[in-house]
């Protein structure tokens, strides 16, 4: 089986039972992606599949063969952090850090969804294409990522800031 992981084509022969999460961590030693609940409830395993955020614990490796997978290890360019990573540092968007790779990958996916004008459950006008990234919007859109330290205020500030930066760029 073959996948493109963080821009590199990787190959492995794995049991069909292997989740994408275990493939990344156990076969390719990409341990940035974390295993929290292993049942799709916590979001610690969030990665980007063809640019869209998913839970790696609920995807079978075999099912995403040939696809493009981005993990937290693939976001920075050399020593230059991705703007969302930098925003998490600046706003203390974490305490223990275990949920952070998932939070950051989720925020990257969120930014792309905003760019495409996609609504959320709290978007009043579903037809609108220009949706303001309000506090409520960000909390709703990040609800698939739990933080047991409760660093949500910093996380929301970081995501809001990074969206602003992207708009300004």
């Amino acid at each position: 089986m073959k996948w493109t992981i963080n821009g590199h084509v990787r190959e492995a022969e794995v049991d069909f039972r292997t989740s994408l999460l275990d493939l990344l961590r156990e076969h390719f030693q990409l341990s940035g992606t974390k295993k929290g609940c292993n049942q799709g409830a916590c979001g610690a395993c969030t990665v980007l599949l063809d640019g869209q955020r998913i839970n790696a614990c609920l995807a079978l490796a075999v099912q995403v063969q040939g696809r493009d997978i981005m993990t937290v290890e693939g976001l920075a360019e050399g020593d230059a952090l991705h703007p969302i990573q930098a925003a998490f540092v600046e706003h203390d968007g974490f305490q223990c850090g275990y949920c952070t790779p998932g939070q950051i990958c989720s925020a990257v996916g969120l930014a792309e969804e905003f760019e495409r004008g996609l609504p959320s459950a709290v978007t009043k006008d579903l037809v609108a294409s220009d949706i303001e990234p309000s506090h409520d919007e960000l909390r709703e859109r990040m609800s698939g990522n739990l933080c047991r330290c409760g660093a949500y205020n910093g996380i929301v500030a970081a995501v809001a800031d990074s969206l602003g930066r992207e708009v300004r760029r």
Binding site: D15, F16, R17, S19, N38, Q39, G40, G43, T46, L49, Q52, R53, I54, N55, L58, A59, L60, V62, Q63, S106, G109, L110, E113, R116, L118, P119, S120, A121, T123, L126, V127, R139, E140, R141, S143, G144, N145
Partner: protein
Amino acid sequence: MRAFDYHQAVDSGQAVEQAVRRDGAKYLGGGTNLVDLMRETVERPEMLIDVTALSRDIDETDAGGLMIGAGVTNAAVAGDARVRLRYPLLSRAILTGASAQIRNMATVGGNLLQRTRCAYFYDVAASCNKREPGAGCDAREGFNRYHAILGASSSCVATHPSDMCVALAALDARVHLLGPEGERELAFNDLHREPGERPELETELRPEELITAVELPPLPMAVRSEYRKVRDRASYAFALVSVASMVELDSNTEDETIADVRLALGGVATKPWRAWQAEAVLRGQPATEETLAAAADAELAVAEPLSGNAFKIELARRVMIAELSQRIVDARKGGES
């Protein structure tokens, strides 16, 4: 997780052929429910036939509705400009379900066939008639806050967990199927079964039948449709009560009357619950608070509470009345513009 074989289907016909050939085969959509259930050994397929690459389009129908391929992701349906404009309750229902990550993976076909989230169904150490026919039901006397007040039986009180399906129930969607005997269609409201004495049988699908598409009929009043979900936390939780609704008013008569209405409930029933009794009370009647209350009462007359969920009867009543009131207000505005 038990070992299984994997096959990636290239078209629907070939997927069905493969399923016929192999005992214990299951179709695989996004996997967000099936993979989890396999990990718990609640599901033990011998082969997964991956159908996610099939039927990934949303097309206009000749009738003026939309045909949504079974492989389209939940996120793609919710984000589709046509769905947002013409069937906003469907977008809203999907967006209130699960998380962004799961909606990006989960497919339409998989959403229809997802299993209940009853904790006793998931726990292989508990008694569950749905998981193991004849074993008994630990939910009936257990923690049943999330369980059904409508459509339950002595053998099963598990709710259907989908939000999307509640919207489809209200929309009179149709389900397109392909099986060994060929194609057929089912009314969405005939797809899911009430548990009765056979809670392990959840749908009217025949062996090896594959859902290929969900068709939304044209429904002009759906432009002002909405979906409201009440739950224990603000996001990423299953419904305690949810209501899908739309109303068309007739303002030509002396008294403003309800010309047409669609109402469906989630979180309270063993299947996506079309509120037929309430609709029958509403149609042709004055758009007043009394009518709405009578309709909600008619729907809930047969509700049977369990030890931990009696609150759902009053909650469902209030949310139905509040939502219908709001739809009437919206319909008045719509009529003026």
